[in-house]
């Protein structure tokens, strides 16, 4: 095997120019595949975290914009006690935090949201759901509040110092602010309706995101909540729950049955995928066609050399192995080229300018390009080499 590698490497080195182009082509295909996969994943970025809610029996409860000062304090406990067979809730809450120095808008999340969805941050880290010290993520602001600062707030009579641990990116989508803070629900509610972008110019005040687990702070459900029922809930119980939700008080709106949310979400995701489909098909086709042509050309070019190996004592079958070794070397260089390109894209900040994510899924799909190339570069030479004999090649020459 070592000898085949040596011969493969020798041929690889002696055909530097053509191999450089092959490596560039594979590298490019891999980078495009990462971009494509990132783009597809980004479509699911807001669906996947709460997939278990969207795909279970449940309800998307939303809070009406028409708030008044008299609505009762509603907690998740209230939901759990008054509704039948509630399994879990992913809820967003308002707080009674107050600052005499700065006016802020506040939103707090329960564990379900803190754990499942991290918005895009420009700096720092996401909040911890079991903080020893009160901490918050802040929106970009004109008040020059930065990560690491501590701001002093009050909740009732309690003084609450809060440490800023992270800052949202401009236009970062966050959970639970749709239908509020200037965002409105779409006509058709779907997974996207659970999110919105906080517009600091429009809202004037910075937004503080805190965990609902902080002590000495009052919370109530005033933003959207995803409520998941147990699987064994009956249609009748669901109907009764919806009646309760609609009748809690004027401030609450029954958003939508999760069945509808799921259908609308799938339709929306499918629409998004359809727009990407032509590009996906083009990339896959180009990869396959170029792999076939490159492999066929390379094998044809090598046939004479394989004949020389044959008359010198190689088996005709072994030429396929030499070819495979050469392909493996090409793949190794293409992988290296891709790693370097990824590093350059990340280092230069280009990854922030377009959708470019490195994670196991994107790596897996870009690796498929290598697998496709390798399989083609294994199968095609076998077919070409089998179809001919050294004598035929000698006669042609």
């Amino acid at each position: 095997m070592e000898m085949f590698f040596k011969l493969g490497y020798n041929s690889f080195q002696k055909n530097k120019i053509i191999n450089t182009f092959i490596i560039l082509e594979i590298t490019l295909a891999m980078i495009i595949s990462i971009i494509m996969t990132s783009s597809i994943l980004s479509r699911f970025k807001y669906y996947t975290p709460f997939k278990d809610y969207f795909e279970s029996k449940g309800v998307f409860s939303s809070f009406s914009f028409a708030t008044n000062n008299n609505y009762p304090i509603i907690s998740t406990g209230y939901f759990k006690n008054s509704l039948k067979k509630v399994e879990s809730i992913a809820g967003c809450y308002s707080t009674d935090l107050y600052s005499k120095d700065f006016p802020f808008n506040y939103i707090s999340y329960d564990d379900e949201i803190v754990n499942k969805f991290i918005p895009s941050l420009s700096e720092g880290r996401w909040i911890n759901n079991t903080p020893e010290f009160c901490e918050a993520v802040i929106s970009p602001n004109n008040e020059n509040i930065k990560v690491g600062d501590t701001i002093n707030l009050t909740s009732g009579d309690n003084k609450i110092p809060i440490k800023i641990v992270g800052m949202l990116n401009n236009n970062a989508k966050i959970a639970g602010i749709s239908g509020f803070f200037g965002n409105n629900f779409n006509d058709k509610l779907n997974y996207n309706s659970f999110y919105g972008t906080y517009n600091v110019e429009f809202e004037e005040n910075p937004l503080l995101i805190v965990s609902k687990n902080m002590k000495n702070i009052g919370y109530n459900v005033s933003y959207p909540a995803l409520i998941k029922y147990s699987d064994d809930i009956t249609e009748k119980e669901i109907e009764e729950n919806h009646k309760i939700l609609s009748g809690i008080q004027q401030g609450f709106l029954l958003g939508e049955d999760m069945k509808v949310i799921k259908e609308n979400s799938k339709a929306d995701l499918f629409r998004e995928m359809l727009t990407l489909l032509p590009i996906i098909i083009s990339v896959i086709s180009l990869t396959i066609i170029s792999s076939i042509s490159v492999s066929a050309l390379s094998t044809k070019k090598q046939l004479r050399n394989y004949t020389i190996y044959y008359i010198c004592g190689s088996r005709w079958k072994n030429c396929v192995l030499i070819n495979a070794c050469q392909s493996l070397i090409t793949i190794a260089y293409a992988t290296l080229g891709t790693i370097v390109t990824i590093a350059v894209i990340i280092r230069t900040g280009l990854s922030e300018k377009f959708i470019f994510t490195i994670n196991p899924t994107t790596i897996f799909f870009s690796s498929l390009i290598l697998i496709v190339y390798f399989l083609i570069s294994m199968i095609l030479p076998v077919l070409i080499i089998r179809k001919t004999t050294p004598v035929t090649i000698l006669k042609k020459n």
Binding site: K6, I311, C312, G313, S314, L394
Partner: protein, 223 residues
């Protein structure tokens, strides 16, 4: 010793364009002979050479190399015979253009399986082979920089590097001018003196005249 008994070779067997290239060819070549196989184009010279070099099969008859019957041999066994017992020299030199002289000569050593040779040993042996054909000063030169005569010398060095008993040459001077052709023939004579059996396929009467025995083939028969 090489012996052929009633060798028959048919191309495209069973097809409409079936063609019998060799008809019951029988031949005996002793060790240390220098033989020319001559004949017109299409007479069956190259077919005979391909059978002798174990790169082509035959339909009927028997073919022995040193009393070993070359029939129904596995791929592996035939490869071993080509590697150890036979050295081939072709009209178009059959060198890998991108390789250096040394790398080309080293090819048969790379496929030798019995003795595990180190890279250093392979280089030494290849250099010695190149020295025998006076090409040791161009070890690391790419063969595409060489003249036709030099390329043929490298091809001969490759043919002898594994010290085979038999050297088969298919029109070895066909692509060379007269003086270079003479030089190449001198190399063959020298190798023959050292005990190698040399079989040269040619249609050049001057080349044939320099051999100890001439075998003429016409329409697939030895005449």
């Amino acid at each position: 010793m090489i012996q052929l008994k009633n060798i028959k070779k048919i191309y495209n067997k069973g097809k409409t364009n079936e063609f019998e290239a060799l008809h019951d060819v029988s031949l005996k070549i002793d060790d240390g002979e220098l033989i020319a196989i001559i004949g017109k184009s299409g007479a069956g010279k190259s077919t005979l050479l391909h059978i002798l070099s174990c790169i082509d099969s035959y339909e009927n008859g028997e073919f022995f190399i040193n009393d070993t019957l070359i029939k129904n041999k596995s791929d592996r066994e035939l490869a071993k015979i080509r590697n150890k017992k036979i050295g081939m020299v072709m009209q178009d030199f059959a060198l890998i253009e991108e390789f250096t002289c040394l790398e080309n000569v080293m090819i048969p050593l790379n496929f030798s399986k019995e003795v595990k040779m180190s890279s250093k040993e392979k280089t030494k042996k290849s250099t010695e082979a190149l020295k025998k054909v006076s090409m040791d000063s161009m070890l690391n030169k790419s063969v595409n920089c060489l003249s036709g005569g030099q390329k043929q010398r490298v091809a001969i060095a490759r043919a002898i590097v594994n010290e085979p008993d038999v050297i088969l040459a298919d029109e070895p001077t066909g692509a060379l001018d007269t003086s270079t052709a003479k030089e190449i023939m001198d190399v063959f004579h020298e190798l023959n003196k050292q005990g190698k059996t040399i079989i040269i396929v040619t249609h050049d009467k001057e080349v044939a005249a320099q051999c100890n025995r001439i075998i003429e083939i016409s329409d697939g028969n030895i005449v």
